[in-house]
């Protein structure tokens, strides 16, 4: 079981869903805070869902306020980076570039992609954490090989 967990985690890294930052977070986890990473993840998804909503609404309005969008995205990028959500972060960067270029369509496309990545990551992480819990805290704290 633990090995399975480790493998899953490793694959997440390999596939680029997560980066070293995630490892940093894991290192912060210890006996006193056994579920730290999971808690942070939960917080991230909750907060980012809110941001995604805001952006959605802004985009739906049709009036492309690039500044505003850029601001939202900046926040989004910040948290995604902090948690190590690599692919999401990439999309964020792309989105911001489109914003700066004033490319509305590019923004829309990218955002769509971003949402996809976001939700994929979420599922994967949820699955991962679930397994990790079952396997026992020790395993999760370990770094993937």
């Amino acid at each position: 079981m633990q090995r399975q967990v480790a493998l899953i985690k490793q694959s997440l890294f390999d596939q680029g869903y997560l980066d070293e930052q995630f490892m940093e977070l894991e290192e912060l986890q210890d006996d006193a805070n056994p579920n730290f990473v999971e808690e942070v993840s939960a917080l991230y998804f909750k907060d980012s869902a809110r941001l995604i909503n805001n952006i959605d609404q802004a985009l739906e309005r049709g009036s492309f306020d690039f500044n505003r969008l850029d601001n939202y995205m900046h926040q989004f990028k910040g948290s995604s980076t902090s948690i190590g959500a690599s692919k999401v972060k990439t999309e964020c960067t792309k989105f911001r570039e489109y914003c700066r270029a004033g490319n509305a369509e590019g923004c829309l496309r990218t955002f769509h992609q971003l949402k996809k990545e976001h939700s994929t990551l979420r599922k994967k992480l949820e699955h991962y954490f679930q397994l990790a819990r079952q396997a026992g805290p020790k395993e999760t704290a370990r770094r993937p090989k």
Binding site: L25, N71, T81
Partner: protein
């Protein structure tokens, strides 16, 4: 002792509040407590980041407070001035721009602030630098980056100690000392006092580019001597806004009109060699912010503000009305103390203090009283100011002129001894009751008023600073006293200083550095006596004795410096007996001597010394002298001194003008040439001005 080793202060700071283990994670010898227990305030609107940061910081064994809104963070900081050692803030926040927060913290609390952001573009990072951030972290923030943030606290403290004047690098601190020592006189570093003035604050420097050299020049003018030493050492050009320099600045600004003052013109008017437009610009920025803040405070007209703050008034700001108020304002600005003092003095003296604007006429006595009362308030303010000054510009050092801020300006003017006494007594009480004695003593000796007490307390503070006897900040009952430290020094810092300074001389030096920053401290020092208390447990006694004349000087010294600093100097000044410190104080004593005939020797030396130290803040000191003599911005002071118990006044003046001076005065006593060239104590009846 405080060696320049930096960290000392920090250690204490960290330790004082948190009582951390000596070992300190940093492995710093000095910083025992460090870094564990470092109190960090994290501000970020992103909850994910906030949580992660908190966890990371906790892992580093820091004490963390989270905040997701800038306004909330500011109010937290304001409510608890010394409750934090360092602030980490995000750049992009919805309710307030991170840089704005940075500015506020720098001005009001003088805490080191680290900016962070996912944005790593050069322009933003540069902005962080120009706004005075001590560091800029790119998200995602890693543990390694956070582990070392304590260095900024230490660095800041060091620079505070060593008197911002000397910019040098942190390592320089040791050098600085040497440099300073070289000067031997208060002249340059006044505060530097051989002990250790770590000038390291390089980082802090916001615009310190110009380096202390300038300051030295400034001081040198007064002192007439070598400030060069520092100059030669200047490694990093750091402009130290000594009291004198600041006063010049304020005078120039007032001449041009606050609204219309532009750095270029100010620079021209000031005509200070070595000062660059950028230095002026950044200083002006700070000053403006300060004024704005004052504006909110009630009359910030400069009531007491040392002309510095009140730029508007340009010199001291109308004491008249504000006396009571000014004090507060001064306190707020930290600088005020000096000004207020000046004002008070002016008021008392009837001289048109520099401030003259408002027409100080406020009877000095009255002012003094108010000052005292303000002290508390002032100190609070001063604290804020002090910080703010401390952060940005140690230079601000509160125009020493009013250094008395803390010290009830009344000293100069005639401080109602009664007031002083009370404060001093407070300090004394805090100290260990030493002060009380002093106050009594001082009062006696100083006809004027409390100043003597203050000085003593101050000196004691100075010394104690080192010794930490008195719980610097906390110790003071009136807080007014201590506020100095709080004011100027970053909250935790001051404490440290005192504790650290136990070595006294070192502390002294440190103070000096701080002093410059603290120009305000004086203001808050109405209770300066209290301040001294902080530190100097040991000093108190000494101070007391020396206080006679010093009382005031110590005040100044302390206030100017940053509270801690002042204390130190004061303490030192007083302690001229103390030797170690006395050297520093000898200078100050020189001052005080005039005022305090009793202790003259010691105090005077101390004062002078202090003055010297205060060099930076010195400008105030010198100014004091000048003031006295010239009636420059500080004219009030001068007069007051003369008028009032010369000794007391002197001491007082000296105190605020240069906390360092006290030290130098003390030093002088020891044999160090009194700095007072500027002031001429002769005017005062002090008979033995060792100077």
């Amino acid at each position: 002792m405080m060696n320049p080793s930096h960290g000392r202060g920090l250690g204490s700071a960290g330790g004082s509040s948190s009582g951390r283990n000596q070992v300190g994670g940093g492995g710093e010898t000095v910083v025992e407590m460090f870094p564990s227990g470092l109190r960090v305030l994290v501000v970020d609107d992103d909850p994910t980041c906030l949580m992660i940061l908190e966890r990371m910081l906790r892992t580093c064994l820091y004490e963390v407070t989270k905040c997701n809104r800038a306004e909330l963070a500011l109010s937290l900081l304001r409510k608890n001035k010394h409750g934090f050692d360092i602030v980490i803030s995000d750049v992009h926040m919805p309710d307030m721009d991170g840089f704005k927060l940075l500015e506020h913290v720098g001005l009001e609390m003088d805490l080191p602030v680290i900016m962070m952001s996912a944005d790593d573009s050069k322009s933003v990072v540069l902005k962080g630098v120009t706004h005075g951030a001590v560091d800029y972290l790119i998200k995602p923030v890693r543990m390694e980056a956070l582990k070392n943030i304590w260095q900024h606290v230490v660095r800041k403290r060091r620079s505070e100690w060593s008197v911002p004047e000397h910019s040098g690098s942190i390592e320089e601190t040791g050098d600085r000392q040497q440099q300073q020592h070289r000067g031997g006189n208060a002249a340059v570093s006044g505060g530097e006092d051989a002990v250790d003035d770590n000038s390291s604050s390089v980082n802090e420097g916001n615009n310190w580019r110009s380096n202390s050299r300038k300051r030295k020049d400034e001081d040198g003018e007064e002192q007439g001597d070598d400030k060069d030493e520092d100059a030669s050492n200047l490694k990093k050009p750091r402009v130290v806004w000594s009291v004198e320099l600041h006063q010049q600045f304020v005078a120039a600004v007032n001449q041009l009109g606050v609204e219309k003052a532009v750095p270029k013109k100010i620079l021209e008017l000031m005509n200070v060699p070595g000062l660059t437009r950028e230095n002026v610009a950044s200083h002006l920025q700070k000053y403006r912010i300060y004024l704005r803040r004052l504006g909110g405070v009630s009359q910030h007209q400069g009531n007491l503000n040392n002309s510095f703050m009140t730029g508007q008034d340009a010199s001291f700001g109308p004491l008249s009305t504000l006396n009571g108020f000014d004090l507060q304002a001064l306190a707020v600005t930290g600088q005020l103390p000096a000004q207020s003092l000046a004002q008070l003095q002016a008021a008392g003296l009837g001289r048109p203090t520099m401030v003259s604007k408002s027409g100080l006429p406020v009877s000095s006595i009255v002012d003094e009283r108010s000052i005292f009362s303000f002290d508390n308030s002032k100190t609070r303010f001063g604290e804020g100011l002090g910080h703010h000054h401390g952060q940005q510009q140690p230079q601000q050092q509160q125009p020493q002129m009013n250094l008395l801020h803390g010290v009830p300006t009344g000293l100069q003017q005639q401080l109602p001894l009664g007031n002083r006494m009370s404060i001093q007594q407070q300090i004394a009480a805090v100290r260990a009751g030493h002060n009380v004695q002093n106050s009594g003593m001082l009062m006696q000796s100083l006809p004027r008023g409390p100043p003597p007490m203050l000085t003593s307390s101050q000196s004691s503070i100075r010394q104690p600073m080192l010794s930490n006897r008195i719980p610097e900040r906390s110790g003071f009952s009136g807080r007014n006293n201590v506020p100095e430290s709080s004011r100027v020094l970053p909250t935790g810092y001051t404490n440290h200083l005192t504790t650290q300074h136990s070595s006294s001389s070192l502390a002294y030096n440190n103070f000096q550095t701080e002093l410059p920053v603290n120009s305000f401290p004086l203001a808050s020092a109405p209770g300066l006596s209290a301040v001294p208390v902080r530190k100097t447990n040991s000093y108190q006694e000494e101070v007391n004795s020396s206080e006679a004349g010093f009382a005031t000087p110590s005040y100044d010294m302390f206030t100017t410096r940053q509270n801690d600093w002042d204390l130190r100097s004061i303490g030192i000044a007083f302690d001229s007996h103390q030797d170690a410190e006395s050297a520093a104080f000898s200078n100050s004593e020189a001052f005080s001597s005039s005022s305090m005939s009793r202790n003259n020797n010691t105090t005077v030396a101390a004062t002078e010394h202090v003055r010297n130290h205060q060099q930076q803040p010195h400008p105030g000191m010198v100014q004091n002298h000048q003031v006295y003599a010239d009636g420059n911005s500080g004219s009030v002071r001068v007069k007051s001194e003369r008028v009032a118990a010369d000794s007391a006044a002197m001491a007082f003046h000296e105190q605020y003008s240069n906390q360092e001076d006290l030290m130098s005065a003390l030093l002088k006593q020891e044999g160090i040439a009194p700095v007072d060239g500027e002031f001429d104590f002769d005017a005062y009846s002090i008979d033995n001005i060792p100077v």
